[in-house]
Amino acid sequence: MVTMLSLPFVAVVILVCMSLAAMLFKRNMIKIVMAVHVMGSAVNLFLISLGYREGGVAPIFTNSPGGVMVLPAPQALTLTSIVINIAVVALMLSFAVSLYRRYGTMDTRKMRLKG
């Protein structure tokens, strides 16, 4: 029985499986990069949902309304992870574009480094 609390973890599992499936079967390079981005956000979702507390408040201490606070550490982690994820995806896209300009194809099967 999927309770309200464990819903995000189910979403994370689905997202990861989807991105892995895309990485395994999609031939186009851009689609693989998108799959990597989807997996990145899945991991971020996983980190955020770790720190969730029932009825928690945003973990800002200056004149906070009091009450239970959501854990701040995972949010810090997620921030860095988002930043890194963007850098990685941007780099991959630039490689894919330059590769397309030189090889003329986006198809991963037509690569030349093999054997």
């Binding site: 770790l50 973990p59 982690l77 990685v88 490689f95």
Partner: protein, 509 residues
Amino acid sequence: MMEHAPALVIAFPLFAAFASHLIGRLGSRIRDIWVFASLLLTWLFAVFLNLEVMQRGTYAYTLGADISSLASPAGFPVRIVLVIDGMSALIAFMAVSVTLASFIYSRRFMERVSGGGESADRYCSLVLLFLAGMLGMGLTGDFFTLFVFLEMTSISSASLVAFFRKGSSFEAAFKYMIISAINALFLLFGIGMIYSQYGLLNMAAIANEMVLNFSFLDKVALSLIVSAILLKLGSVPVHMWKVDVYQKVPSSVAVMCITSSLVGIYVLSRILFSVFFSMSALTGWMIVCLGSLSIIVGVSMALPQKDLKRMIAYASIAEIGYVMLGIGTGLAGMSSTFGTVALSGGVFHIINDALDLGLMFLIAGAVFYATGKTGISKLGGIAHRSASLSVLFIIGMLAVSGIPPFNGFVSKLIMYESVFCLNPVLSVIGILGSILMLSVFVKVFASVFLGSPYKGKFREIPLSMTAVMWIFALLIILLGLFPGLALDGLVSPAVEALLGHGIYMGVII
């Protein structure tokens, strides 16, 4: 100033990386001097780290709150702890010295290959970023900082792979980036799982908590983290990206990539020895099996290769297999005597492997510098044109395949005689691997160096490149003749550091 060495070792290359662009504006000579001076300073910090470790044993350096109990408003400490012990100091020292050597080598190498000016600035800052990432991975005692520095190394080395702006270098960089992204995400997944269990990120603190309750989720987290690090290492099932990368990366950076895989092995052994040591028998056997598989596949795939650097890349996968063999037996036989001997063999092989394959890649780079080609069928008879390159290659060949007077033999001897107690078949695979490795390099030597004199244009190899190669060769001969030097000085403190997970935890709590 010196007691902040651990933090400065990481911070200084970072600062130098970004400053090198600015200083590049003033002139390439000044930028070279600046980068060389900063590398030398980092090298001094690393040497100081080693001396400090020899004196004080394992010690921690905390960035942020000093004592764990100092509560920040939110009620828990905000700090990152750098743990420096025998092993991490050794790895840091190796990373910096290899980067220093490869930088001196790359001055003239990059000039001919990609032209100076703006791209040379980019090269220097990327190399320094790569070094900072490796040092960060080496020294952290904290999972998430490990993840951040891992990302830094992969991003900077991916852009170094794509440095030559040719079609196939972009392809190799693209593959490398995808693999590093997946590796980092799976690592983060594992870290998240552990964080959900214990609410801690510090390795030693987690290890302390984990001794009591070791739940099912921790096992899943362990397997995710270990497979992510194995992917970064390039052990057998997931080694193909490494071959493409080493083929297309400039040779001076290839030497640093080898050291980054050895830093990866350090991270693997740190996690398995100091954090998940309760599972050591199982993980030890797993690492040993993957290691022997790497030896077989690495060497057998290196034989039919047609490209020089791709062949050396497969050879480096086999060498990583040897190190995994040593470390795995150290893990599996943690309590017994042969485990410690195997571990010291494995750690000593890390040093030898970095030197031998480093020399091989430098020679491949020198051949590419002189002739502009790396295909084996297009080269031939270079021994007539430069005898020093062929003598260097012979030294490197004998050292990599472990022929007696050189350093490869010493570490392989130690490993065979201790891995033998775990299971004799592993020693057999080791011996077979070294003979096949020898035939790989004999094939390269015969088709590239011997035969009738080379007809094409052969540029003279500059002194700086030959000097660096001869330094590597002399170190190989020195370690071969006086193995006791390295074994007692560098290797035994590292082995004690790895095995003593009690001390490792004690430093933090």
